[in-house]
Symmetry: C2
Subunit: 272 residues, 2 copies
Amino acid sequence: MNQTNASIGGPAVATAPSGTPVAGHATPAQSTPSFSPLYQQIKAFILQSLQAGEWKPGESIPSEMDLATRFRVSQGTVRKAVDELAADNLLVRRQGKGTFVATHAEVLVQYRFLKLIPDAGDSSSEGPAEREIIDCKRLRASSDVAKALALRAGDPVWQVRRVLSFAGRPTILEDLWLPGVPFKGLTAERLSDYHGPMYALFETEFGVRMVRATEKIRAVLPDAAQRLLLKVGHDTPLLSVERIAFTYNDAPMEMRRGLYLTDTHHYRNELN
Amino acid sequence: MNQTNASIGGPAVATAPSGTPVAGHATPAQSTPSFSPLYQQIKAFILQSLQAGEWKPGESIPSEMDLATRFRVSQGTVRKAVDELAADNLLVRRQGKGTFVATHAEVLVQYRFLKLIPDAGDSSSEGPAEREIIDCKRLRASSDVAKALALRAGDPVWQVRRVLSFAGRPTILEDLWLPGVPFKGLTAERLSDYHGPMYALFETEFGVRMVRATEKIRAVLPDAAQRLLLKVGHDTPLLSVERIAFTYNDAPMEMRRGLYLTDTHHYRNELN
DNA sequence: CAGTGGTCTAGACCACTGG
DNA sequence: CAGTGGTCTAGACCACTGC
């Protein structure tokens, strides 16, 4: 069977999960516009399942053969779909074991989004940061925050402020805003008590997995409150890192503003 | 023919270009340690040809079928090799036309390594930057520069200083160091006269293609000389962006230190 | 029209994991 | 050992480009 832009699902596809794109199979007259390759449709289906939480972070997804028979497609086609999702860091392949939903809870990919590393030595040499939650309160979204989180101004949001220290030295001051609804029940205690990356907590406690993020970086001088928390003078320049993190459907789920002290650390970036 | 870790090249491969990895073919006794998949070997070969300048930036490389027959391998195997190189931005595929060596001279990928963009409007709205070469001189590498460029201290290097302005406003001050040998014949005039990205000039004039780079970012305050060139006060924090750019074989070919004014622009980064 | 990359198949064997 | 992902093949047809 070759392709002439068929669709997965189609007739007699009892085992295919719900929500599968359907259309004629086996060389349907190509009159209909805007077809997409089978592997793209499979990719979309997997994405949808991830979004719906059918396969949770850390769990394995069905095997390639399994998916191939479900979609009445060859293994290679499923493979290409999974390959691309793995390249996007949404899935992780493990030979001999299976394909797993990526998670921030794994040691190897922890702090994947934190690019501040010590000037000398590898980033693991200094060990994990000491964390202190300064504040965690519920308030109404300002227009800035609302815009960033795709909410309406006045919608409930959480605001968290915390300081990260390395070797007892305050180095990062972060303010972050989270939409109220998905993060219902957030408290300073839950944040303090959890040991591990904050994004891992979001996954396990609130079912929110951060998939990608964008950052806007500037150089700034600290105001009085910031100087106090970071214990620096008024002429210490800081890196301002404004991040918006997105979950599966490209829905913004966090806005974060970090101030980084860069006298002993630097923000590392790889250009490709 | 299936694989049991054969090698490309092998017997009777007259058309295969020079330097092809060679070993037994068709299921060689797998006693030898450390085999690599065929597609990896092909990838390595292509990489080597790029490095050697056999296919220049902008030119097309042989077709998949061509490479497949050369290496006595199926099209799919070549495909996987090319796919990965395209994912690394070393090659660009164009359906119906061929596969091309990536170049900084293309409009679409120009300024791929410049992440400073205006706060409002898209990055193309402000048009290209006005460039002024402040200085271009030959000197001996300091230990810092030597280390970054994998040279010995005292080896000849070029040092270039320039200012980029947007809408008449000085915004970027860059110092960059280039190894003396590959960039023999560099002058301030050649830099000034060229219209287009500097990395495009490096490709066409010196045969050096920058493939990837790493950046270390800090917040700093300018010294007197820097304040003058950027026309800012002593309390204006700046982004310090220290870049090392690499050519094909991961050989460092440029060290650059940029100072970015971030009151109307910001450094944009995508986290995946 | 021929030539290119893009999608897809069916089947093979390899390498790795775990029971 | 069975099950998983990883590599490879030979051949098919599609979509796009340019002559």
